[in-house]
């Protein structure tokens, strides 16, 4: 590759030798030979042990895959170590999964087991595993997440930190396959949701709780006011002229739901607020069409504090939820399928979570979530209502 400040680029002739619109590297050149030979001929697969899969081709050939976890933010030193392992065991081929796992593919079980052993033996000097194998079958796989405080401008929480904290707590579920169904956890550090957390078994969502601060000094100069006004989904923003004659906007605090769409349009309306920001927990979503259709995750805890560096309140709820689901759900029942079968009132009772006003929808199409039947189960939540009106 080029060296020096400018490399191949000539600022005097910026168009010279410029290559554009070539797209990604063609995948065909990146496939291990066993994959090329059996492309489109796969017949079945098995999970031999957690983290080790075998795919069987119609030709009789087998591909053995070892799956290992990774942190999504990854140094090139770590990538080079992955390459060393792939060179040693897989003839220089490696792949990554949608959920940020690393997959090493070989053509023999013996090689795969040696590789797996080596992966599990490597540790950071800080003590954590570098490449723990697992993430297959009825267990937790890697937690997909966003950027957080490492380099995003809108987060209400960090991403890599809480993910590390949750994954540490659930590490045994990554290494084992003892849950009733797959467990997919995701984190988005604000509700822009760069990841698909809204359809996860458990979703952690950074959430702001205060309306934007308004930088009247610069707003009129750096933002297009009509665009800012139009950006608000709840019509809470109005154009104003400040007392000292500056063009700016006002925010109706009663209406604001802190979504941050205005901040995306205008940098003079920041939302971040240390004590105000926190993490909401959603549960029961999925993307697979297996048995029940895909479904959204539902808010079960409106806010928990950003207690760095380990987010104990968040990990406690997640751990408890997984334990209770694992104990009580039927085989094949995803967390949301289980919650729907027992009823959300029973879910909240079992989880020991308060059901507060935050959890009743009041946004678009809220009426779709109102229960319009007499089919319900009695829990303490129900007695509280009956008592409140003097019914019992």
């Amino acid at each position: 590759m080029s060296k020096g400040k400018l490399g191949y680029f000539n600022p005097q002739k910026p168009q010279e030798n410029r290559i554009t619109d070539i797209g990604p590297c063609h995948y065909g050149q990146m496939l291990p030979p066993v994959i090329r030979r059996n492309y489109g001929k796969w017949a079945s697969h098995r999970i031999l042990e957690p983290g080790l899969l075998v795919h069987v081709s119609e030709t009789g050939e087998k591909a053995f895959t070892v799956r290992a976890a990774a942190a999504r933010i990854m140094s090139v030193e770590h990538i080079r170590e992955i390459c060393d392992i792939a060179d040693k065991h897989c003839n220089g081929y490696v792949r990554f999964t949608t959920r940020n796992n690393i997959e090493f593919i070989t053509d023999s079980e013996e090689k795969a087991k040696a590789l797996k052993k080596e992966l599990d033996s490597r540790k950071h000097v800080g003590g954590s595993f570098k490449f723990p194998t697992g993430g297959t079958g009825m267990g937790m796989t890697n937690i997909v997440h966003t950027q957080g405080w490492i380099h995003c401008h809108t987060p209400a929480t960090d991403a890599s930190g809480p993910v590390k904290a949750v994954a540490d707590v659930l590490f045994d579920e990554f290494k084992n396959m003892r849950l009733p169904a797959k467990l997919r956890i995701a984190l988005a550090c604000c509700l822009n949701m760069c990841g698909a957390v809204h359809c996860s078994d458990i979703a952690l969502l950074g959430y702001h709780r205060k309306p934007p601060a308004i930088d009247h000094e610069v707003l009129g100069k750096v933002c297009e006011i009509p665009l800012v006004v139009a950006s608000c989904p709840l019509y809470a923003i109005k154009p104003i002229t400040t007392e000292d004659g500056k063009k700016s906007v006002s925010v109706n605090i009663e209406k604001c739901m802190y979504c941050g769409n205005c901040y995306t349009m205008c940098l003079a309306l920041p939302l971040s607020d240390g004590p105000g920001d926190g993490v909401a927990i959603l549960a029961g979503g999925k993307v697979s069409n297996r048995l029940s259709p895909p479904k959204f995750s539902k808010v079960i805890v409106p806010i928990l504090p950003n207690n760095t560096p380990r987010w104990p309140e968040v990990t406690d709820v997640v751990k408890k939820m997984v334990e209770i689901w694992a104990k009580e759900a039927n085989k094949y029942e995803r967390l949301g399928d289980w919650a729907e079968r027992i009823g959300w009132e029973r879910f909240f009772e079992k989880m020991g979570l308060p059901f507060t006003h935050h959890l009743v929808d009041d946004y678009r199409l809220a009426v779709d979530t109102f229960r319009t039947s007499t089919q319900f189960k009695f829990t303490e939540h129900a007695w509280a209502v009956s008592k409140a009106v003097g019914g019992i």
Binding site: S2, L48, Y93, V287
Partner: protein, 478 residues
């Protein structure tokens, strides 16, 4: 590489393939320049005590990894790096500050990019420049990933050198949408970095802003028996066809293609893609009755062995497959499974449970669904079943015909920052069907509408919409 004739540039199975050594920046001494003791003794120049707490516990610690890169950069030295050698130290420092204050220190946006493109690079600056000058810029470069994220190590090592020389040495593998992400470059390094990527790696930038985002795909036919079409081939073909839409933002907002090979939806297209391509079949599930017997006898574990970590008792086909089938279209007489395929909705459960006995049908293609998005702004939406079946054979002329109609209409009709799912919701699915030139079908809805507020077309109503009050009054005096 997509320059014609160079699609096999990195192919290790080809004799004249490009190797890491052909393009490397760092020599072996520079790459192996620190000891484990130096790593243990590394002290960040900023207090990072909270972050260091995240080095404990079994899960791979990003903090330990970042420290390793910090040590490596110091040893490589500023003379051999175009980006500050201390950039990772300052990054750790500013993240620690966020851990203390619980607020981000990254500023809002900043327009940076390379000549002729409107996307692919996201500008990032911090608001503590005096304290952390080495991360004064921390731009993100999105690099198009190869299909299903397969790599050769030659390619990844070359990528690593670029990301370290003209970036911070930190990456995301991968970004949420699927790109390889180089973190932490400076504005003046963007053009040289882009030239290195295109000239030496043979790869282009990904999407950002109001354009087609980098399409992504599941592993498909490369290593999955469930894949009903070649996800990688279709993803690559459409990515190349729409390079202009990907690099030069001309859309109201982002637009995502995602390619799932089957209804298990491993790439989550139904939740994330404006246009979700999901594999399906229209003939019969293939049954190997001998293998069914083996499952019944407990010789093959259900779900490929995915339940092995707990004793769930003896596998029971009747209870676990037949009775759970959402359409109740299966029968088991103790010897054979039979399926009323016309009633099957292809949920995949029986195939997932018994992949060695049941296989997806042979007459394969894909469904197209539209409109998924995260909550901003009208609330989260999942993609809506719109086209039940299309064959997916190159050159994909019919599929591209659909894409063109959607792009043309949405570019015209969509409002600023309105995803296509929101445009469909605002303008109506009925109108969207007209745009696509398709009739409505019951498969598009969970149920017909319950309210009767139907908009009729004028030609559907005898005499049209024009009214004559005199004529009315001739029959109904005031």
């Amino acid at each position: 590489m997509s320059i014609p004739g160079q699609e096999k540039q990195w192919d290790k199975e080809e004799k004249e393939h490009r190797k890491y050594n052909d393009v490397r920046i760092f020599d072996d001494n520079q790459l192996n320049n620190y000891t484990e003791d130096e790593l243990k003794n590394y002290k960040c120049k900023h207090d990072i005590s909270q972050l260091e707490q995240l080095e404990s516990g079994p899960w791979p610690s990003f903090v330990s990894d970042l420290k390793r890169e910090a040590v490596h950069r110091h040893k490589v030295g500023q003379d051999n790096l175009m980006i500050p050698a201390d950039i990772v130290d300052d990054l750790l420092g500013i993240v620690e500050l966020s851990y203390k204050e619980r607020e981000t220190h990254w500023k809002h946006g900043g327009i940076v990019g390379v000549l002729g493109y409107g996307g692919g690079i996201v500008g990032r600056y911090n608001d503590q420049q005096a304290k952390f000058p080495n991360i004064a810029h921390f731009h993100t470069i999105r690099v198009a990933q190869p299909g299903a994220k397969f790599y050769t190590t030659d390619y990844l090592r070359a990528f690593s050198d670029i990301a370290e020389y003209r970036g911070s040495g930190l990456t995301n593998l991968h970004g949420s949408t699927g790109d390889m992400v180089i973190l932490g470059s400076f504005s003046e390094q963007l053009e040289p970095l882009f030239f290195d990527l295109t000239h030496d790696l043979g790869v282009d930038l990904g999407g950002s802003g109001g354009n087609l985002r980098t399409p992504s795909d599941c592993i498909g036919k490369a290593r999955c028996e469930f894949a009903c079409y070649d996800t990688m081939a279709l993803c690559y073909d459409l990515t190349m066809t729409y390079q202009d839409e990907l690099h030069r933002p001309a859309f109201p907002y982002k637009f995502k293609f995602k390619f799932d090979g089957c209804p298990n939806c491993c790439i989550a297209s139904i939740a994330r893609a404006d246009m979700s391509y999901i594999g399906t079949w229209k003939d019969d599930i293939r049954i190997n009755q001998d293998a069914v017997q083996e499952y019944a006898a407990g010789k093959i574990p259900p779900d490929g062995g995915g339940f092995a970590g707990r004793d769930w008792g003896k596998f029971d086909i009747q209870a676990e497959v037949i009775n759970l089938c959402p359409t109740q279209c299966m029968k088991w007489d103790g010897k054979k499974i039979s399926i009323n395929n016309a009633e099957c909705n292809r949920c995949m459960h029986c195939i997932d449970v018994m992949p060695e006995a049941l296989r997806v049908g042979k007459d394969q293609g894909l469904s197209i669904l539209f409109g998924a998005k995260a909550p901003i702004l009208e609330g989260a939406q999942m993609s809506c079943m719109t086209i039940p079946f299309m064959y997916a054979n190159a050159p994909y002329t019919s599929i591209k015909g659909v894409v063109t109609k959607v792009f043309d209409w949405w570019t015209e009709e969509g409002k600023n920052r309105e995803r296509v799912g929101e445009t469909i919701q605002r303008v109506s699915l009925k109108k969207f069907c007209e745009v696509l030139g398709i009739p409505p079908m019951p498969q598009m809805v969970t149920a017909p509408r319950a309210n009767p507020y139907v908009f009729f077309k004028e030609e559907e109503v005898p005499g049209g919409f024009a009214r004559d009050i005199d004529d009315y009054r001739s029959r109904h005096p005031r």
